[in-house]
């Protein structure tokens, strides 16, 4: 929307590949997936596995 952006895009050859990291950061749904998957695996699932391994008192 800005002049600045247009300037950048005008100067960028069409065939120049977009860097991988920029493609990742420009993909909100991939980031949404990562932002849910990482804490779900490391905090929730791993944590619940540890809870299930607590021995039940006699």
């Amino acid at each position: 929307m800005s002049d600045h952006n247009e300037e950048v895009d005008d100067n960028t050859p069409d065939n120049e590949p977009i860097p991988l990291m920029q493609r990742v950061l420009d993909n909100p749904f991939l980031l949404l997936f990562l932002g849910i998957a990482v804490p779900t695996v490391f905090y929730l699932i791993w944590g619940i596995i540890e809870i299930t391994q607590i021995p039940i008192a006699d």
């Binding site: 600045h4 932002g35 944590g47």
Partner: protein, 564 residues
């Protein structure tokens, strides 16, 4: 559908504003301020009860007030305001129409109904289970139902935000990458989705338990999953208020981030690792391994903390670079001395940045260290820490941006300008006092969540050192000061929104005066300058404070827990 969308152009910033988005920003911001006022009042009652010389409320009403305070300020005020931030950062900054405004309204109504239900149920006095509502404490079903409705409404708001990103890209309202402020808001929305999903996983069965359809909820399982909501909801705040720091820096100075790539990577660290810090609350639970505790509470080996430190450097750094480019090059700190300290938006934002880093940030990392946590777990240190992050950090930043929202979005002249100029200082100093004195009391062992710090009715009495009583008195005085600052904010904002002079179409308000470069807020790009000696010095001071405080706590631990 896009043909029916009405836009206006902001005469101050030149931004294209979808009128449907503007209305939603307004209603969410108004609802937020109403609940801030209610929650703040309950907070004052809590602080005056904890002040031993005052001890205002009876025990039952204290726990009711504490429950209402936690819910209204930690959840309702913050999330309503974040919805306003999401609609601003998507539709307004991208110059796009808001996707599905009807859904956004449905979300708002659900949030409002949920918040009202929960407040009514709490005020009825049978659900004083505090914000955490740990089982087996059982609240009335309406308590859980209200929170669930509120969360569903917020989830709808998040999806409207994501849909607006898609619409803006498809309709090519911007080119290249989204602006950094929008990226930060997206980070907040991503964390919000995880937060709300976790809340649903645990609160729906708890509602059924409260209704009698489920026999038992395991307390440790509840606590683990609940904190995925309870702590992560505060991480939404971090991402949102950091975005606001960048927005205010851009709108006030035309500042661009020092390196947009680095700032975006710092937000990525938030997306990946910020939520897992929920494990702080489980640090003394015997059922979890040290591996799980350390991995999670170190924000995956401190990568998310690194993100915060990057923002803590690049925000003032971007301001310094912008100020120096205008010739404020004298010495190390001319750029800071000659900053607009009478502009409440800038003053609030800069104090938010400093307090968040020095008070909330350092104490969070210290408290997240498994060993040191033992000397402060479940003491008043914990609310001291999160008043440093959520109130001195987030609330102060939200208040700061409100001073721009009123003239630019509500289209009203700001009233009581002298009061507005003082407000961030009164509120900021009050809240910083609350945080520091609570942490001091907590370090001396004063318990959190307890009506009577003296344990007067206890079978086995416990004597705190006199310094703990001093800390609680100072905390009470700071709370009064913060409440005065909060009232000043409500008077200025409510007065201006309802009675401020209405601006004509295309009329520029007298406040704020923004430079032409303020359009940077809606652009991507970097300042490409590393001539920031003043910021480097501030960062060095921060690191020294961080290291000293960290080792002071290890020393303290060694004194009370001798291992030789």
């Amino acid at each position: 559908m896009s043909n029916n969308t009405e836009f206006r152009t902001c005469p101050t910033t030149g931004l294209k504003v979808d009128l449907a988005a503007e209305k939603l920003i307004k209603v969410n911001a108004v609802a937020a301020v109403v609940f801030l006022a209610i929650g703040g009042l309950f907070g004052l009652l809590v602080a005056l009860t904890r002040w031993p010389e005052v001890h205002l409320l009876p025990a039952d009403f204290f726990y009711l007030a504490l429950t209402a305070h936690g819910l209204d300020v930690l959840l309702v005020w913050i999330i309503f305001f974040e919805m306003a931030v999401l609609y601003f950062a998507s539709a307004v900054l991208l110059g796009s129409r808001l996707a599905a405004p009807k859904f956004a309204w449905a979300g708002f109504v659900l949030m409002l109904v949920g918040a009202v239900i929960t407040n009514i149920v709490v005020l009825q006095g049978k659900s004083s289970v505090m914000f955490t509502s740990y089982v087996p404490l059982k609240a009335e079903p309406g308590f859980y139902l209200g929170i669930i409705l509120f969360a569903v409404g917020a989830l709808i708001g998040c999806f409207v935000f994501f849909a607006t990103l898609v619409v803006a890209r498809q309709e090519r309202t911007y080119q290249g990458s989204i602006p950094l402020v929008t990226f930060g808001a997206m980070t907040a929305a991503i964390i919000a989705v995880f937060t709300i999903a976790s809340g649903a996983i645990i609160l729906i069965p708890t509602l059924l338990w409260s209704l009698g359809y489920v026999a038992n909820i395991d307390p440790i399982l509840y606590k683990t999953i609940w904190w995925a909501m309870g702590h992560s909801s505060q991480q939404i705040n971090v991402a949102a208020h950091v975005s606001i720091w960048y927005a205010i820096a851009a709108m006030t100075f035309g500042a661009k981030p020092l390196s947009e790539k680095v700032s975006r990577m710092a937000f990525l660290m938030y997306i990946l690792f910020l939520q897992i810090a929920s494990a702080h609350h489980m640090l003394v639970e015997p059922g979890f391994s040290s591996e799980w505790k350390i991995f999670n509470t170190s924000y995956a080996m401190y990568l998310a903390v690194l993100g915060s430190m990057v923002h803590g450097m690049t925000v003032p750094g971007s301001i310094e670079a912008a100020q120096r480019s205008r010739g404020l090059n004298k010495g190390m700190f001319e750029w800071l001395r000659k900053a607009p300290w009478g502009n409440p938006a800038f003053a609030g934002m800069f104090m938010s940045l400093v307090f968040f880093g020095f008070i909330g940030g350092i104490s969070g990392v210290v408290m997240g260290t498994e060993q040191i946590n033992l000397i402060m777990h479940n003491t008043l240190y914990v609310p001291g820490h999160f008043h440093g992050t959520v109130v001195a950090g987030t609330t102060l930043a939200f208040m700061a941006i409100t001073y721009y929202l009123v003239p630019l979005i509500f289209r009203r002249e700001l009233m009581f300008m002298k009061l507005a100029k003082l407000q961030p200082y009164v509120f900021g100093i009050g809240v910083a006092g609350i945080s520091v004195f609570m942490m001091g009391a907590g370090t001396l062992g004063v318990s959190r969540r307890h009506w009577d710090m003296q344990f007067a009715d206890a079978v086995l009495p416990f004597d705190y050192p006199s310094a703990a009583f001093l800390m609680m008195g100072l905390n009470g005085m700071s709370a009064v000061l913060a409440a005065v600052g909060g009232i000043m904010f409500v008077v200025v904002v409510v007065g201006s929104v309802f009675f401020g002079r209405k601006l004509e179409k295309d009329e520029k308000p007298s406040y704020p005066e923004v430079p032409p470069q303020s359009a940077a807020v809606a652009q991507h790009g970097s300042a490409e300058s590393l001539k920031i000696p003043g910021t480097t010095m501030l960062v060095a001071i921060f690191f020294i404070a961080f290291v000293l405080y960290y080792f002071v706590n290890w020393k303290y631990l060694s004194e009370i827990w001798p291992l030789s």
